[in-house]
Amino acid sequence: MKKRKVWFFVLPAFLLHSVVILFPSVSTLFMSFYKWTGMGKAKYVGLENFRRLFTEDEVFWIALLNNIKWTIFFLTVPIILGIIVAFLVTNIRGEKVKSIYRVIFFLPVVIAPVVVGRIWGWIYDPFYGLFKLLFAKLGFASLAESWSWLGNPKIALFSVALVDNWHWWGFVMVVFLGACLGIDPVYYEVAKIDGANKWKQMWLITVPMISPTLAFISLMTVIWSFLAFEYVWIMTQGGPGHSTELLATWIYKKAFLTWESGYACSIAVILFILSSIFIIFFIYIRRKELNV
């Protein structure tokens, strides 16, 4: 009797979530077998969407490769920066100073992505941007104009990733800082007596001690990198050409610009399959931590 009553308490949450998210997620799987414009009747085409995806759609492969590049970038740059800075901040004197650094590095995290995109869009602008104006003052105006951060297909993806990194690495740092401050200082004392310098202390004590956090952040990074969307959409919309196309932007374009919703669903299915290994691993880790 008691148990049955308690069920009612989870019911609203479960119903809301399953109607708004579970149901459309399952629909995606079904609609990937249909030719569908997003409105009106859908026509069953079997595996046609997937055939097209793997054999005809060059952009899909470009996007997939870009997602892999994106993942590698975010597995290295923000994480290395985050660990080093977290280590430095733990090693400086004074709690006030520590917390000031923490706020400063955390500040970009709370800025809306749209605004981050526009600030850096201006900084990068080849004609009126900050970099151009600074270069011009140093006498390299023509160099700055030819060096177009977002216009050059070879570096555009990297430029966008740098912007996302500006917004993101502070978060990684603060998470690591939490882990670093939890390390018992005795370890460092012993290491110092044994003559270990700061660099060695970081590699031999800090990094191993925060490895659970490191593993977790890396896993999250991989999952998020497969879904990256906002910065590319705000700054380049996949261009120039398709040089900054990501799977998410390609799904979006197919669904909402060319109205090939069935096809977009089939890309989403592939995206889900690719990230599912990591998602399962994530659930496994979290289950243990949360004691579910």
Binding site: L81, N91, P108, V110, G170, G178, I234, C265, F282
Partner: protein, 281 residues
Amino acid sequence: MFKSIKRNHLINEKNYLLHVPLLILAIYSVSPLVILFLNSFKSNTELMGYPLNFPVIFRFQNYIDVWRAGNYWQAYKNSFIVGLTTTIIICIIAGLAAYVLSFFKFSKMDLIAIYFLSATAIPAQIYIVPLYAYCQKLGLTNNLLGIIIIYCAYYLPFSIFLLRSYFLSIPKEICDAAKIDGCSDSQIFWKIVSPLAKSGYATLVLILAYWTWNEFFFAVTFLQNIKVQTVSIRYLRFTESHFTNFAYVSTGGIITILPIMLICILLQKRFIAGLTQGGLK
């Protein structure tokens, strides 16, 4: 955590060299924001000529112009409505679910817990296409109610586990004692558990305010009509039509980020703790 900060004091000798890389990175983090702030008061010609200088005169007129041209009053109103409603609904629904997941144990409850745990990792890109089609059929696109329902469902799994982490720290004995005194389960939830987890709710409110204010993916898809756009999407559209006027782009940027930035600075400890510990760790 704070105990260990104090103990760490022991190992910190005076090492000013460590400040050098930290200061450089601090400049990297803060300078774009400082430049944005200063440029928001300049005229566009002044900005082009002297992008890094202090403004000659602070043109507050920029703010009035952008506020009007960008239709920001409406956008602020929309963002407030969306943020507030989402937060209230989630606090109730997630609170109830978290209560069950923290204080009751029986076999099928585990399945529910795993369902919500898996849901924290399901990417929005997977279901956005059918979701949009269904919402369109139901008239929920370009509709504040539509985006509120979506946000409620989208942030629900995280919220449940955040609240649960606070609920779990409440001693079970308190609930047992209340039960002996004749409290029903729902009375225990409303009168005992929820008030004791006040700080958990406060953290959740803060995080939801920040997320709904900044949210981009759903908002850009579902809110095309200017009347229903939230602040960040309004800013996107405003900058698309004023992209040559970098002064206005800067002013709009400050208008967009100001409320959340102030809240974050004022309540940074709770904010950081909530984002990094309650949900992620």
